[in-house]
């Protein structure tokens, strides 16, 4: 039981509206943890708090036992917390290759180089090849990002995050908006993530959630509603009532569980 | 000291009337309109020309300046500004700079580049002895008139249907449109009124600030200061910012003439660095 990421009573308030209500969460090394909850439960806000995009009103975030609550976004990434965005956040003017090469360079500490061209280092280019091939982006690597299909963009979104060599990976609805035919590719990618990376997955797609997660947290109105093994959560009547809502979901859970 | 303060307040109120249209346009259409000063200049020149060529009395010129500039604003909004709303800020900036250049040189061509003078009606000249201190009658007139305008603006915004439609459109144009509000008509009306107010301010200010073809460029930074420091989410924000600016400028030029506008610019930068959303903005 090796806790990598932990929050203590994390609270976020906007002008009197409490969006995150005392969330205490623990993520173990190699975790496969899902975060589910109805719309507006505050899942993305929580990820924003974990990554530093939002500053917490109170509470702490700890990585490997060290308090990172005050660290800015880029510093947390350097320590190994990386996330993907629910709505693609890509570099519209760059190519997939350039985007990944930049992320790899940043991870290898070469992003400040100003004299030698990007990609002169074989360490960078080897890693780029690996990621591009692994994510089936090699054939579109030189195309402008704006011209790619949505499914490819979603894969690029994840590829860039993996280029940062995360120790903790926060995936915010990776399959959102992806056409049926491309979803399997996303599923496979997530399933193939390195074993020692701790993954927190936000998803609405219950197939993906219960195929992937070993443990689940249910977030409702900004607070932790239920937490535990995936199988237990899937059949928990309280969870079903507030979120899953009906028998179909129970059938899904037991059918796969 | 009291005279200085009063002069500063008069200057500030004038700046507010001049700049309020810019604040609302920026808040409503998210459009950086550096040509706003050109509308003020138009109002000033309309007044000057009517008074000197047609002998129209000063007080009558004021509403004409307002209406004339408002019509000009509505026309330009419909034709030139509308295609620019969706464009990036850089394009808007360059576009409005282009308009200013055109306006400045056109006025220079047609009217000449000298300072224009306005002869105020006798009852507005001179000073009123109040508490042993002489208060300039014209400045008092400006303060009263601008004060009334401010109250009227606040009333329209807070109490009328147009006001609430405007506020809704500022908050979220897409949702407002979805609710059935004719957002483009609101834009046009608001732009027209804002330009009209600028024109009125230009007419009022011709005597106090001076009027020549370089007016829009000279005062552009002042209008922008009012808007960026005051924020675009309220009326009172720009009002307070304008008053602050007016007093600071008048006091600065009196006490430390060597530094001139340096104080005002530094103050503005300091404020914007500490509170980029403006000193008085809601968010």
């Amino acid at each position: 039981m090796n806790v990598v990421l932990e929050t203590r009573s994390l609270v976020k308030r906007f002008d009197g509206l409490t969006v995150t209500d005392g969330v205490s969460l623990r993520l173990e090394r190699g975790a496969r943890h899902a975060l589910i909850g109805p719309n507006g439960a505050g899942k993305t806000t929580l990820v924003n708090l974990l990554t530093g995009v939002l500053a917490a009103t109170s509470g702490q975030v700890e990585l490997d036992g060290r308090d990172i609550t005050a660290l800015p976004v880029h510093a947390r990434v350097r320590r190994g917390i990386v996330r993907t965005f629910q709505i693609n956040q890509l570099f519209g003017g760059l190519t997939p290759l350039a985007s990944i090469a930049l992320a790899v360079s940043a991870q290898q500490g070469r992003s400040a180089g100003w004299w030698r061209p990007l990609g002169r280092d074989t360490a960078v280019t080897t890693e780029c090849d690996r990621l591009l091939n692994g994510f089936h982006l090699a054939d579109v690597m030189d195309r402008p990002v704006a011209s790619l299909a949505y499914g490819k963009l979603r894969l690029l979104e994840i590829a860039i995050a993996l280029a940062c060599k995360p120790r903790v990976l926060l995936l915010d609805e990776p399959a959102a908006g992806v056409p049926e035919g491309d979803r399997q590719e996303i599923f496979d990618t997530i399933a193939a993530l390195p074993v020692d990376v701790s993954v927190l997955l936000i998803e609405h797609d219950m197939d993906l959630v219960f195929n992937f997660a070993r443990t689940v947290t249910v977030l409702v109105d900004g607070a932790v509603f239920a937490e535990g093994d995936a199988a237990a959560i899937a059949v928990d009547p309280r969870v079903k009532a507030v979120y899953l809502g009906d028998d179909d979901a129970a059938a899904v859970a037991t059918g796969h569980g | 000291m009291l005279t200085l303060l009063f002069d500063g307040v008069a200057y500030g109120m004038l700046l507010f009337v001049l700049a309020v249209g810019l604040a609302v346009t920026l808040g409503l259409m998210n459009f950086i309109n550096l040509a706003h000063g050109a509308f003020a200049m138009a109002g000033g020149y309309i007044t000057v020309l009517l008074m000197s060529r047609a002998g129209v009395p000063f007080l009558v010129c004021l509403p004409i300046a307002f209406i004339g500039t408002a019509l000009l604003g509505a026309l330009l909004e419909r034709t030139l500004y509308r295609p620019m709303y969706a464009k990036p800020h850089l394009d808007q900036v360059l576009f409005s700079i282009g308009l200013v250049f055109m306006a400045v040189t056109a006025v220079d061509y047609f009217v000449g580049s000298m300072q224009q003078n306005i002869t105020l009606p006798p009852w507005l000249q001179g000073r009123l002895p109040i508490e042993g201190v002489g208060i300039g009658k014209y400045r008092l007139f400006i303060v009263v008139l601008c004060g009334l305008l401010t109250v009227a603006l606040q009333f329209v915004l807070a109490r009328t249907r147009f006001g609430s439609r405007l506020r809704a459109s500022v908050d979220d144009p897409r949702v407002a449109g979805g609710l059935g509000l004719d957002v483009s008509r609101i834009f046009m009306l608001t732009f027209a009124v804002g330009s009209g107010l600028a024109g009125l301010g230009g007419a009022l200010g011709a005597e106090v600030l001076g009027l020549d073809p370089t007016f829009p460029l000279k005062f552009m930074i002042y209008f922008l200061i009012v808007v960026s420091v005051g924020g675009t989410t309220t009326i009172t924000g720009p009002l307070l910012a304008a008053l602050l600016l007016g007093i600071a400028d008048v006091a600065g030029k009196y006490y430390v003439p060597k530094l001139g506008a340096f104080i005002v610019y530094s103050l503005m930068i300091a404020i914007l660095v500490v509170r980029p959303q403006g000193l008085f903005a809601r968010r």
């Binding site: 995009v53 400040a112 180089g113 004299w115 860039i160 | 800020h89 850089l90 914007l272 660095v273």
Partner: protein
């Protein structure tokens, strides 16, 4: 995962290709040299274009590559000019030393003011950059014992250029001056070229495209903004220094809003974000200026304004494809 030997790495060869010299880039450098060689009578014009080009390229670094809209870039131009002029009059009149001083001084100013543009919206950045240029204008105006006030600094006489290739004294024809400016422009382009193809340069574009994602891959946005702003200020200061040294004076109008607006237009005409837009824009702008001024000398600004309005409504990117002007849509 495919196993690639480094020599056949697809990523490596693609990246290498993007950084390679294009033919048209070489053409630009060739054109610069040919212009100097073949048009000795146009030396003053060439000098002017080179200086404006360098100024515009410096703006491209912050606008085209980092996405910072500045209405006060002339602050660094003027500061460099005054620094070079004061150095020549007061300390030594060696041109290269003076240029170094101009570059260093503007870089310091750039680094200091970069802290002001880190936060805020486009509007606040516009205001702050405008404010800085205005402050410098006021300072130059009021500190007239140093700067000559409204009259400016006159009588800046430069000594000869001492280079490894020989000693060149500035002459009335301006050939040495224009060669000097062109060489500095070329050097600046070479350095800037390295910069934009480097990881740092690509990270600037990432920052411009998506600041949130840039920080989410571990890039420090603030440091990069400070760095690029400082570098751009240094280049602009070099342009200003060249102007002071080759024209013999520095004046208040170098800080004027008109300068900042003009360089913005020059860059937009030439195109942002590919580095040579400043050079192309400077040439086209000068041509436009000469053509229009010959026709209506007094009201050049009117046609300039009209050009801007039309260009912006039609769309900047359509400048190079006029047949698209009458088609609807992107």
């Amino acid at each position: 995962m495919a196993d690639e030997a480094p020599s056949t790495s697809a990523a490596a060869s693609s990246l290498r290709r993007s950084a390679r010299w294009r033919v048209w880039e070489l053409a630009v450098f060739a054109a610069m040299s040919l212009a100097w060689l073949l048009l000795p009578g146009q030396s003053l014009l060439i000098n002017q274009i080179a200086i404006v080009a360098l100024f515009a390229v410096s703006l491209d670094l912050i606008l085209g590559y980092a996405g910072i809209v500045s209405l006060g870039h002339a602050a660094f131009f003027g500061f460099g000019a005054y620094a070079a002029a004061l150095f020549a009059k007061g300390t030594m009149n060696d041109p290269l030393a003076g240029l170094a001083v101009a570059v260093a001084a503007s870089a310091v100013l750039g680094a200091a003011t970069s802290l002001l543009i880190l936060r805020g919206t486009d509007l606040t950045r516009l205001m702050v950059t405008l404010g800085v240029a205005s402050i410098l204008y006021e300072l130059a105006n009021k500190l007239d014992d140093i700067t000559g006030g409204a009259d400016g600094l006159q009588g800046v006489v430069m000594g000869p250029l001492l280079t490894p290739f020989g000693r060149f004294a500035f002459d009335l024809s301006g050939r040495v001056a224009s060669a000097y400016s062109l060489v500095i422009l070329a050097l600046a382009l070479l350095v800037a070229r390295r910069l934009v193809h480097s990881p740092f340069g690509v990270s600037l574009q990432a920052l411009r495209d998506n600041r949130l994602r840039a920080s989410s891959i571990g890039l420090s946005v603030r440091l990069r903004l400070v760095a690029v702003y400082t570098i751009a200020a240094a280049f602009a200061g070099a342009a200003g220094g060249l102007l002071a040294q080759t024209s013999g004076f520095a004046s208040l109008d170098l800080f004027d809003f008109h300068r900042s607006a003009e360089v913005l237009l020059v860059l937009v005409i030439g195109g942002t974000g590919y580095l040579y837009g400043g050079v192309i824009g400077a040439v086209v702008f000068q041509l436009l200026h000469d053509v229009i001024s010959a026709w209506t000398p007094q009201y050049w600004n009117f046609w300039l304004g009209l050009f801007l309005v039309v260009l912006m409504i039609v769309g900047r990117e359509r400048l190079v494809t006029p047949w698209k002007w009458f088609r609807r849509g992107p």
